[in-house]
Symmetry: D2
Subunit: 344 residues, 4 copies
């Protein structure tokens, strides 16, 4: 069986795992106060071109989003997000559990538009009952989005601009950032992210590590006292160096870039194969997640040797499915898939 | 430098790490729905003698305590704990952050007494203003305690009895349970824990894994819908099988017991050496944490080659220090320490 | 100036105020444990035909909604409500502040449909990722709605049925219940409300008292330990008897019914006058809130002598406005208004 | 029966009630945006000598404390308070329900000492694990305290000094402030309170109004966006002018001062009578709450005609009881009591 279900079904990239094994018997202080974490923090600061950013490593994405959002917002504020945003749908209410409403915006292939953000905020304060409603206190976006799409640099500039016009921070969920940076046609760099977002996280779980996300506070004015907040949210790893060791491996010699590059190229080969075989590409994704509309009998046949995700029916005889590549996907895996696609 | 600072300064026990390496490139479903997790769950059910217990694996201790306590308590209830209990002191307010007061009881070498619990609850309901106060909704204890001491079976029976007399659950924080089970003079088994506690967790982080705690709901009436609650608390690991693989390694062939046994024997050798050298043993701990009163010049001399924790001054010329052993401590480490102790 | 802005712009109905004045110098125990409160509780139990209901008096509507919802829901659950529901819009995030998401449904003149509730719940549990999403744990409706419309008995039966089919409670916000019970064409009684809803509140603030809402737990299985929860939510009045005295006045001799009847009749006269004068009735409301589309110059002219609420522009030259009657509205007030309407 | 149980057993002072009756049929805008509230706000600003203070009127004390504390503290912070402080004991966990730990200090007749506050904060930051503990983010005191005692001006200066040395706000719960200002030997003024505290509230419920507390933010840097926070906490009264009307009556012509003066004088007469009759005065209270140790048979005898609070046994044959005066206590009430005391 060959797997295209998700980018978190395997363990860690070999170089990351090797670093964990190599350092396993060393003794270090806990909670991220060790030298491996310090080095990883510096590598990330360098990679994002922001020497004075605060960088903290957390275990998972839900925690990272919940902690960052809770730390930024005042009690009476909520977070703006696409109606399809991860925090609006798939965090089991973690944002609300810390007291904050998710204020939803229309989504366009998973993305929000700067003009919608602007109008929401303008209309909010124009409503004379606004103090009885939840104030928009920050903007959350995912880059790439939950549908694999990517904001262009111009779109990011516009979103950052509208946020700062209204004096609210822009927060970017970068769970799959590696695949976004190497997306087909991507015109933004990690330094742009750090320049335009006030906070963001660079995901490890889906991009080569066993687990772990690097939360970056580029604009420190928006989030102070991060350490106790991370602890309070249960997101502080006792053996914090495990995160430092892994992110060190990702950022020391360009592994993070190689992972993104490799997975995207394989995803594009898959997209091309399905398109060439005459199937509809449902979302025009330039990253490692690809969505296709396939006849149900084709799905059944493919599933004999290949594993992938089902997203829902489309008409009586077709369905939408998702294929995801990652650092763990090989050229051979994709060859087998393409062979299966064409074996009609 | 030889390290006795804590039981979470090194990585994972060799057999645990080997299991992670061996399974690294396998693809499994996420969030703990894989076969490794299922097997680990069954191994733990067998070890605790409770076939229908719910077992769920979380990443860290703060999360596990916060999730379990939040899941058990009604909104108007708080959790009883020793004034020295971890949740009362060192969770950065994680319990209060989910809305619940920690109601403190006197501690006796880190332990609470059944009669104190009984009196607290009796007096609470005898106070005619009790509905204006926070109701005691559960009891939290640590086994072993934060000071390395251990409840006897009779003490556990008494605590369980008083809890059930008042119809509140008993929850046991077993972050270091392996060392408690093998403590000098320990007269309780893991099956006793499962029989007497309504919920408890078996810690991995300090007992051989890279990270991870196994939350056991022995009495399911007290905590339903654990899965979404774990997710909401940010405690659900995407690659959940990493926890299953590690706990499988601990419980498949008795590794968990060997780890406890080994570390405790080394700790007792250390205690004996300090005592023989004429130093005061501060807490009469039968587990892997040992506390001594040493002259400050002795501390300075030991620190040239050995690393350990400082707990605070005791008079003008002495201090209390802590030495901790773990699965990562070797006989040779202890030989070096004992040599240093005796080299006055 | 004559006022039709809202039903909470004046003080209390004369009979209510008189009761407060008459009892002012009496001494009673606090927090609702007095005899006036006991009597009011019994009067309400009688009026709703439910002898064993729990009845508790709170100060205001936001509190009552927040307390009831927080008391009913488990931590991983949210509350279903119309997208126009008060808790979804105008509670400043009070529901989220206690940790719960408001799950919105489409609104039809402010009402939700039983089939939508059913489909939401069916689709929720059919989604294999449902444990990562917020579970629908109760249904919130307003009777009458924020737009003055009223659920028919058949609609209430259907909503109650679908809730109980899925084992979630139905909660009714009755801030303006008095006006709903006497609505044009209303076919439900207070006893129907108590029979079909598991919890509801009978509003006082907008229906004759200075302040105060009577929270009724018809089905006690869904909400225990109400007293400490009310206190915790800051909704417990020290001089609790003030609520008992006021609700006693409302329910002892049918004042509550007379208030509803009077205000609705006056509202219908207003509706008729606007309709007769050729203006559009925007929502076909049978209660004390009426919405009309008026030319802006007519609005300006009316405002010289009459005060009412502006709801928003409709096209270039018209706007929607709201006229509200209450126990404080007189026949003379309406005569003046009708005269002004017709003085084109 | 004559009542000395508490200062919230009767309704409102005649002048306050009269103002409510007089304005009852007026129509005003809601939520405290009316002219009565504006006037009351200005009267309070004048009384406290702080023209730019924010003043907001809330319904009750629990709400006021919970809202103010929640608004001030960052998520990782807790509130310092005497172990006997109202928020530490009798708020049903309202502070914890909004996510914050109450950090307790020793009490001396209900008061905390500046040196204890200083030592707590110094020791907190000296502990190298401090980021794992709840940071002291503000100080809460009651003036007068729950035991009727009063901080001297020097004590208030010291507390304010130590708070500002450590850059945390001082918050004063003034539920019974009127009685503290007129306490025997009181050497502080309301202007001192406003100068030394960053926030405080002037209680109405126990000092002449039906209900209501005036929250004063003297130092606006510590609490912004109070309005939506008050709404979110369910503490915003729809008919907000009811609070303005009542506080206007208290502060327009010195009624607040007269109420304090009268009740304290009567309380001191009672204290003198018990002392002269040979009974022990338990707390040396200079305010309207008085505590005595009486033989149980005396208690039984007094209770035939007089009502007061029982606080607990003292030895086998005695008990401690509380007598409270208020604006509703008359000279005749006290005459009757003194007669009963002396009728041995």
């Amino acid at each position: 069986m060959i797997h295209f279900n998700s980018d978190y079904t395997a363990g860690a990239h070999g170089e990351v795992l090797e670093a964990l094994v190599r350092t396993n018997m060393e003794h270090t202080v806990g909670y991220g106060n060790d030298n491996y974490t310090a080095e990883a923090r510096d590598l990330i600061r360098k990679a994002i071109g922001c020497e004075d950013a605060e960088v903290m490593f957390l275990v998972g994405g839900t925690q990272t989003n919940a902690t960052a959002i809770d730390g930024i917002l005042a009690r009476h504020e909520g977070v703006l997000a696409a109606v399809s945003g991860h925090i609006a749908v798939h965090e089991s209410g973690a944002i609300e559990a810390s007291g904050h409403k998710v204020l939803t915006l229309a989504e366009y292939d998973g993305k929000v538009r700067a003009e919608d953000v602007d109008r929401y905020i303008e209309e909010f304060y124009a409503d004379e009952t606004y103090q009885h409603m939840v104030a928009p206190g920050m903007l959350y976006i995912s880059q790439p989005t939950e549908f694999g799409t990517v904001y262009s640099l111009a779109e990011l500039e516009a979103l950052s601009g509208v946020c700062h016009k209204h004096n609210i921070p822009l927060y970017i969920d970068g769970a799959r950032m590696a695949y976004g940076l190497k997306a087909e046609g991507a015109d933004f760099l990690l330094t742009d992210i750090a320049r335009l977002a006030d906070l963001f996280y660079i995901g490890g779980t889906k991009c080569g590590t066993l687990f772990g996300e690097a939360l970056v506070v580029a604009n420190r004015a928006f989030l102070k006292n991060l350490f106790p907040l991370v602890k309070q949210h249960g997101a502080l790893l006792a053996k914090g160096r495990l995160l430092g060791v892994q992110f060190g491996a990702l950022f020391r010699d360009g592994l993070y870039e190689r992972i993104g590059e490799g997975a995207v190229q394989l995803a594009l080969r898959i997209r091309e194969a399905f398109r060439a075989a005459g199937y509809e590409v449902v979302k025009e994704s330039p990253t490692n997640q690809q969505f296709f509309r396939l006849p149900n009998d084709v799905i059944d046949r493919l599933r004999e040797t290949i594993s992938f995700d089902y997203w829902g029916p489309r008409g009586a005889t077709d369905s939408v499915v998702r294929f995801v590549t990652s650092w763990a996907t090989t050229e051979e895996d994709v060859d087998v898939l393409i062979h299966a696609i064409n074996k009609k």
